[in-house]
């Protein structure tokens, strides 16, 4: 194992929040390392597009700006590296093409983003069914269509973006199956209008989809995906119970986003349940510092607020770190950033509201529906554990194996907690969340052990005989 490298600041995640944090801290004269699993900075929202020539004023433009700025900065870039351990102090261990690496810093900014929430329904495990965010990655970063005949479903503006993206590439959208009513969208308009550029962008997507005569089924939801080795048909229902089947070869569906909070949980930061902003998030100061001194959480991993506020939160956190390390920061700059963050909340909270509050959808999950994809655990198995009198969320995991697979409970955690809350008539706060455990992502044992001599393994003293 190589000796850990020391920095003033370690930033985990090179999306809009982490990227800006790293740039801000480096500009303030701090030594910074920025670590990300992807081979290029930008995170999921500003993923490096396949073709670098992209029209101006798109997200890709922001991504390009970020990548160029990082390349020109003093930030040490550690891309294509999988962080598997974060411990007190802070020490961060990662694996990459060049083997294992350890670095340490007194300050750690976590900007690990979010992952998709899909509320289970029969057939959601079928090949050809994928997340809405997955589809944006395929479209933007790989320039590929999810299928030849695609149903876009779920809730929120991402549906419009994906449907418009498919059409722009010459693909076919069978229908947009929208859980929201049209009145829901209209009701959100005043709040969305506080960010005219973003509203215009979203309106443009929706307009293009509607203009293409693609059916937009408001107040409808997907109840089943069918097929053999790939989805071939989905069943949708309206609120009044009218069912119909739609033939397709891909279903992209998303019910919102869940903040990626593995690192603050691992470091035992105090968390709270904020349904509007995606669920369990760390308690934060105005500078985005957690209850663990020196540990900051920014971007969607600190609560779903979108890219607009992600950058601002990253900058504020980095400035706070700089201040803690004795650097001067302009009060006017702080005030401006805080104002910008507050101003953007009106828009982001309106979007977040569209994506949250899905207790009824979870309650509707059928007994035979698989909830935990990794371990094929159905709702009835979780209910059966509760019927035995088991209430502890970790114990339910032990008994059913739900959440024990390689995704480490990321895909099912939110749903299982909601099911346990429903089943035991407790709040999500009372039910809590699964304990955070390393590794942060599954890592190959072969990579973890590297090459070694048996005699060099620091085997502790044997126990008494």
């Amino acid at each position: 194992m190589t000796f850990p490298q020391r920095f003033d600041l370690i930033v985990l995640g090179a999306g809009p929040a982490g990227g800006r944090a790293a740039l801000t801290a480096a500009a303030a004269g701090l030594t910074v390392i920025l670590i990300d699993e992807q081979s290029a900075a930008g995170g999921q929202v500003w993923r490096k597009p396949r073709a670098e020539r992209v029209p101006a004023r798109t997200d890709g433009q922001h991504g390009e700006g970020l990548r160029a700025a990082l390349d020109a900065s003093d930030v040490t870039l550690a891309l294509g590296r999988r962080v598997w351990s974060v411990t007190e102090g802070f020490r961060v261990d990662s694996l990459g093409p060049e083997g294992s690496m350890s670095c340490v810093a007194d300050h750690l900014i976590v900007a690990t983003g979010a992952h998709e929430r899909v509320i289970p329904f029969p057939g959601w495990t079928m090949p050809g069914v994928m997340g809405l965010a997955a589809a944006t990655i395929l479209l933007k970063s790989e320039s590929r269509l999810p299928g030849k005949r695609v149903v876009v479903a779920g809730r929120g503006p991402l549906m419009a973006q994906v449907a418009a993206g498919i059409l722009a590439k010459g693909g076919r959208v069978v229908a947009v199956v929208d859980q929201m009513r049209l009145t829901g969208w209209l009701g959100a308009l005043p709040a969305l209008a506080t960010q005219p550029r973003l509203l215009a962008q979203g309106g443009g997507w929706m307009g293009r989809v509607l203009a293409s005569r693609t059916p937009w089924l408001f107040n409808h939801r997907v109840v089943e995906a069918r097929g053999a080795d790939r989805v071939s048909e989905i069943v949708v229902t309206s609120a009044s119970g009218d069912r119909r089947a739609l033939s397709c070869d891909a279903l992209v569906i998303g019910d919102g986003l869940v903040p990626g909070t593995e690192v603050p949980r691992l470091l035992s930061a105090r968390m709270w349940f904020d349904r509007l902003h995606g669920g369990w998030i760390p308690e934060l100061t105005a500078d985005f510092e957690t209850s663990v001194p020196g540990l900051f959480c920014v971007g969607d991993g600190a609560g779903i607020r979108g890219a607009l506020q992600a950058g601002t939160s990253g900058e504020l956190a980095a400035l706070a770190v700089a201040r803690q390390l004795g650097r001067k920061t302009e009060p006017a700059r702080l005030a401006r950033l805080r104002r910008a963050f507050a101003r953007a909340s009106c828009f982001s909270d309106a979007v977040a509201a569209m994506l949250s509050g899905q207790t009824a959808d979870v309650a509707r999950i059928g007994p035979d529906t698989i909830v935990c994809r990794c371990e094929d655990v159905s709702r009835s198995e979780i209910d059966a554990a509760m019927a035995e009198g088991i209430r502890d969320i970790n114990q339910i995991k032990h008994v059913t194996r739900c959440g024990m697979g390689p995704c480490q409970g990321r895909m099912c955690g939110d749903t299982v907690q909601e099911l346990v809350a429903l089943g035991s008539r407790r709040s999500r706060e009372e039910v809590g969340a699964w304990t955070g455990r390393p590794p942060l992502r599954p890592v190959p044992l072969g990579d973890l052990v590297g090459s070694f001599d048996y005699g060099d393994i620091p085997v502790p003293e044997p126990a008494p005989l």
Binding site: M404, T435, V459
Partner: protein, 372 residues
């Protein structure tokens, strides 16, 4: 008025649950008070190894009985807890380890554990998944493992069946002796019982303090790790001479890697932190023993808190100076031997002579306190 139980057990791990179960089956009214949920600490998160080759010599006779109990868990507990009985190998890769293994296996054999020393070729016949470099191996046919995660569920069903009152999410906070009866204060309603068993794992030190008894208990923070599912790569329980590796693949394909490498933690705060270098060290041992593990990915790592007395022998017996109070815990390799030791204590509480001696804690008291 609250009912008065014949027995109150504080702590719902293997020890507490087993004492409660056999006391209830023996005709007592029993209440079990557990701060969290049943077998959620060391009893539920340990490596599930059922082995003689990591058991202390003094405990071998108990471990043999306990192994038989585990193997027949479906009968007396009503649930098989995923027990697999298989061969076990303790490996030596260096001359020093071979010497240690020969000595330790010999002592364990004298105590009754059927351990044979075999060469690399014979070891490979037992376990074809072994890597190169084995010099010597201890082979024991009485070995195996349980799925520790299922322990809580198994005991829950059995305790309910036996009529034990289970108070989960209820922490005991103090004990008074009032008119020949124990009054246990809890975070819920107080509990009254004629007899008391302290079975709170690493927390028995402070619990014994309620009774005015001081027994220092050391806390081991044992690190564990598990791979994701993979193809079958091994069929035995593997350890090394020093005892600092335990390795077994479950029928569903995951492999649990343990051996007692220490994480950082403390019992007061309750949390712990796994240290990356030790995790890597433990996993290196595992991959050295079974190279095909390198194909798998590490899915999760955690730790369990194990209690250890000054002489690393159990604290199972009456509490000195406090009639009708007992303690049950600190059993090294407690998952293997726990059920049998706890059953012995239940026998004693039921007024019968246990089949083997208990481990009273008088030996662990401060000499001045003992004199007083």
């Amino acid at each position: 008025m609250s009912a008065r139980y014949d027995l109150c057990v504080v702590g719902g791990g293997i020890h507490g649950c087993t004492v409660a179960l056999f006391a209830a089956r023996g005709g007592m009214t029993v209440v079990l008070v557990e701060r969290g949920s049943l077998c959620r600490e060391a009893s539920g998160v340990n490596a599930g190894t059922l082995t003689m080759q990591m058991t202390r010599v003094a405990l071998i006779p108990y471990a043999l009985e306990a192994h038989a109990m585990w193997a027949s868990a479906a009968t007396w507990l009503g649930h098989d807890v995923g027990v697999v009985v298989c061969d076990g190998l303790s490996l030596a890769f260096t001359q020093a380890e071979a010497e240690l293994l020969s000595y330790r296996a010999g002592k364990r054999r004298e105590a009754g554990a059927p351990i044979d020393l075999v060469d690399a070729k014979a070891a490979r016949l037992v376990e074809p998944g072994l890597g190169p470099g084995v010099m010597l191996a201890g082979h024991c046919k009485i070995d195996g493992f349980a799925n520790a995660y299922l322990t809580g569920l198994a005991y829950r069903r059995a305790l309910i069946e036996a009529g034990v009152t289970i108070l989960e999410e209820t922490a005991a906070t103090a004990v008074q002796r009032v008119q020949g009866c124990f009054e246990v204060d809890t975070t819920g309603a107080p509990v009254k019982a004629a007899r008391l068993v302290i079975a709170g794992g690493v927390w028995i030190e402070s619990m014994l303090g309620w009774l005015g008894v001081t027994v220092p208990i050391k806390v081991l923070v044992n690190q564990l790790a598990v791979t994701e599912r993979q193809r079958p790569v091994m069929r035995t329980v593997i350890g090394i001479a020093s005892g600092l590796l335990s390795l077994k693949q479950y029928p569903h394909g995951t492999t649990v890697i343990g051996g007692g490498w220490q994480a950082r933690g403390d019992r007061e705060r309750g949390g712990y932190e796994l240290l990356p270098d030790r995790l890597v060290g433990n996993v290196r041992l595992a991959c050295h023993a079974i190279p095909a593990l390198k194909e798998a990915r590490l899915a999760r790592a955690w730790a369990g808190l194990e209690a250890e007395t000054r002489d690393a022998l159990p604290a199972v017996g009456p509490v000195p100076g406090v009639p009708d109070a007992y303690v049950c815990g600190s059993v090294h390799s407690g998952y293997t031997s726990g059920p049998y030791l706890a059953r012995l204590l239940a026998e004693r509480i039921l007024g019968r002579e246990p089949a083997m001696p208990l481990f009273p804690i008088d030996r662990l008291l401060d000499p001045f306190e003992r004199a007083a």
